[in-house]
């Protein structure tokens, strides 16, 4: 069975700093996608960034980038120049190509401090 592990339940950083959220996963699949989702307090879950497993190049979206290490089954999210609006729960998620099932980690609660 596939599992997603986020080992940091909660983190706090000062505004404008860089922060890295960790995620590891376990699978025997070779074709899959990885995602980071953001869930602000009392608001909707939205996609931050996605990574196709067959792509070696790390995905980037403005201030957000990932460090994808396929052999190590690691998928960390780096947020540069953090902003107050980045305060949220962040979830790492794994999607199998075989059946489109998406499973989530337990999340990291990120606080950006003014």
């Amino acid at each position: 069975a596939q599992t997603v592990t986020q080992s940091q339940p909660e983190m706090s950083v000062q505004e404008a700093e860089t922060v890295t959220l960790s995620c590891t996963y376990d699978t025997s699949e070779s074709n899959y996608y990885l995602f980071w989702y953001k869930q602000p307090p009392s608001r909707q879950m939205i996609l931050v960034i996605r990574q196709e497993a067959y792509k070696q190049q790390n995905a980037t979206e403005n201030r957000f980038s990932v460090n994808f290490q396929k052999a190590a089954k690691s998928f960390s999210l780096k947020i540069s120049d953090s902003q107050l609006g980045d305060t949220a729960m962040y979830f790492c998620a794994f999607r199998m190509n075989r059946d489109d099932k998406i499973i989530f980690g337990k999340g990291t609660r990120l606080h950006i401090l003014p």
């Binding site: 909707q44 996609l47 999607r95 190509n97 059946d99 489109d100 099932k101 999340g107």
Partner: protein, 112 residues
């Protein structure tokens, strides 16, 4: 911009009563997911549909929960009878092939 619609946004029900949630996915999305999210935790997959067929319902408590997507479009999740432990956020999401899932705003259920 297309969105996943869910209703109601909030629901308070007494234990042992029946409750139902509705989800309308983004048009054209064949895959529909229902997740349960306990406050401060990650979403747990309850059921996954591909068009009108159930792909995975291994974590659905089938003695009290049921889900359907009769015409392969909108979907209903029902709980009967509701228990105190069912209090949670129920999230619906949809996706097309090889894409991320898009989430609705969720239904927050409180069982009293």
């Amino acid at each position: 911009e297309a969105e996943v619609a869910q209703s109601p946004r909030y629901k308070i029900t007494e234990k042992s009563q029946a409750v139902a949630f509705w989800c309308d996915p983004i048009s054209g999305h064949a895959t529909l997911y229902w997740y349960r999210q306990i406050l401060g935790q990650g979403p747990e997959l309850l059921v996954q549909f591909q068009d009108e067929s159930v792909v995975d319902d291994s974590q659905l408590p089938k003695d009290r929960f049921s889900a359907e997507r009769l015409k392969g479009v909108d979907s209903t999740l029902k709980i009967q009878p509701a228990e105190l432990g069912d209090s949670a956020m129920y999230l619906c999401a949809s996706s097309s092939r090889d894409r991320e899932a898009f989430f609705g705003q969720g239904t927050r259920l409180t069982v009293v």
